[in-house]
Symmetry: C2
Subunit: 168 residues, 2 copies
């Protein structure tokens, strides 16, 4: 027999979305080394490696947020990040050995960053509404890192990677 559903409030949504981004960060952590290995440009490889280290810290922050709201850190399959990273894998396979590979990898990484920027922006707004000030502080640190990573990738695209993609 189906259990009668409790009405879901903002704190349920906050918790569910925390699980979603926790899963996503772990997926990103396992994907970045593959992207670093595939990258042809040294600066792009270094950018992926740097973000891999940052992601480890972001996962720890999420675990602290779970603790702050009295919950156990737990992931929930995030269909969005599965799809976004699948596109990155397609690029690695379809553009392998091609001049445009790095431009495609970089763009795939920016799609990942933008998903995270959307999610952390949302989580911060909800944490503020719910009065979880510790969570707000932690999530804002991560959001700032994601925005910085996105900006660094944009610069790298403009100064190197996009030109290389068009050079014979």
């Amino acid at each position: 027999m189906a259990k009668a559903k409790e009405p879901k409030m903002l704190d349920d949504l906050f918790h569910d979305t925390l699980k979603d981004i926790y899963y996503a960060e772990k997926k990103i952590l396992s994907t970045l080394p593959k992207m670093a290995k595939a990258a042809q440009d040294k600066q792009l490889r270094a950018a992926f490696e740097k973000h891999h280290r940052e992601t480890e810290g972001q996962i720890e922050r999420l675990e602290q947020v779970f603790e702050d709201i009295g919950k156990k850190p737990q992931g929930k399959t995030c269909a969005a990040i599965v799809g976004i990273t699948e596109e990155g894998a397609e690029i690695m396979s379809e553009y392998k050995g091609s001049p445009a590979l790095d431009a495609g990898l970089l763009a795939a990484a920016q799609a990942v960053e933008h998903y995270e920027i959307a999610r952390y922006g949302t989580l911060i707004a909800w944490a503020e509404e719910l009065g979880h000030s510790g969570a707000v502080r932690l999530l804002k640190q991560t959001l700032a890192e994601e925005e910085k990573t996105d900006e660094a990738l944009t610069q790298l695209a403009k100064t190197a990677v996009n030109q290389e993609a068009q050079a014979a």
Copy 2:
């Protein structure tokens, strides 16, 4: 026998990514009416309806970009948008009838916007590199609309939807 692969350049990547976002925009066009129907807040419903009309214009612009580069408008399954919209569908089902439904729908829409913002930003940089000035102009118009939609959703979350999600 497998055909020897041609090395892929930035113009191939631009064309492939154009197909990806063309598929994504059509998927978004079919998803927005469902989100508008599900929304409980009138302003949120109106925002989804407005963006539905904008999306029609964005699809037409993409068709013009295809034409500008001498290609037929054609979509290619975009795993990212499939995953992102799947998360929106989960919210509609899991939060149906709950106070937090609208906050979840709004967040799902912002995840969609951020995917588009990432993709259009990338396409503009590539179009600039490739010297497709007509495409740059068209894509920038759409990017500005996406950014405005995202900002309007942020305001709506802060001024109404997030509070409603916590009200009994």
